[in-house]
Assembly symmetry: C2
Homo-oligomer: 204 residues x 2
């Protein structure tokens, strides 16, 4: 099957053969899951031999880890960029939700693989990714806490609120598809308004 994966998923991955293997792996993991995919399937889809695959990745798990790690690192960079710096907490939250939602809508296939196959990661790799996830969640919580402190937000429970905001964004990857009529950008804007309301902001 051919999926419409964005062409700019991993601009920094070199050489091009490694990137091609990552694309092929995402397609196969998305279609039949990590456990039903063989390294041969991935190599064949990338137009390579299994031996050529091993030049770039020592195992199927290594491919999944690279896909998961880079996805989480990119997300963390986006989140840190938008939560730090100047701006009021509502302004920063609006920008954060807009981009976080757009990100998950545009990259819905790879984001689904990353979310659904978390537990397929080997223990050490899992803990690296879990660490990145904690930092992403922490950035959301800090921004909410900052808003509560300055009186811009009022929430019953900061942790639950952060969880709900993150959850709304991540779940976009589950249901968004090329058939969705709303663009990723438009969806991000509407979700940002809903989130600001959820956080008791008067700035929606």
């Amino acid at each position: 099957m051919t999926m419409s994966l964005p062409a700019d998923l991993w601009p920094d991955v070199k050489p091009e053969a490694a990137r091609r293997l990552m694309y092929a792996a995402v397609e196969s993991f998305a279609t039949v899951g990590f456990h039903a995919t063989t390294t041969r399937d991935i190599a064949t889809a990338a137009g390579m031999s299994p031996a050529a695959l091993y030049v770039h990745f020592p195992s199927k798990s290594a491919l999944l880890f690279e896909i998961s790690r880079s996805g989480h690192e990119q997300t963390l960079a986006l989140v840190q960029d938008l939560t730090s710096g100047d701006g009021t907490p509502p302004d920063k939250m609006r920008a954060l939700v807009e981009d976080f939602v757009e990100w998950h809508a545009r990259r819905h296939t790879v984001a689904r693989v990353v979310q659904y196959e978390l537990e397929a990661l080997p223990e050490q790799e899992f803990s690296v990714v879990a660490g990145l996830r904690r930092r992403i969640e922490q950035a959301f919580r800090s921004l909410i806490a900052e808003g509560v402190r300055t009186g811009a937000f009022t929430v019953p429970d900061e942790k639950t609120a952060a969880r709900a905001v993150l959850s709304l964004g991540i779940d976009v990857a589950r249901w968004y598809s090329e058939r969705t009529r709303k663009t990723p950008r438009a969806l991000g804007r509407e979700y940002a308004t809903l989130v600001l309301r959820m956080l008791g902001s008067s700035a929606e």
Copy 2:
């Protein structure tokens, strides 16, 4: 592996051997995915022979369909029960979100399987489940529309709002685990407050 699946997932499924097969299938689908599971795996986990499995289910797909269909039918019954009847739209929405969230937290493993493996259903079975999903989503949208009509809710876009409310509930199945400190009930109550805010209700 042994998961802590609720004992009351399918009280109506008879005979008990069929129910045991459904539990074994959920465990295996949750662990390695539908495509990497064999009917032999499921039969063995249920303490039966593959031939005995076929007495109850003609295929692995038939098992997935039964798990998915019954999950969606139960959810639809819950949603219809809570959105019909008397009560103001905010009261009904509060009760709906409380129960919908609790439902997905308690049954997180089976709900994950149902959501993650939707596209593994054969075409006809998929369309049956898609029909149930449309009715569930429609019930959320109708309740929001009723609230907008009576002035209890104000939302920028009813479809997006319904999507966000559903999404918050469904995504609980992804992240909730036995290690989550908040009980399903407590989480449902907090989420109901967040949802009423999102819908512009003054009744939170």
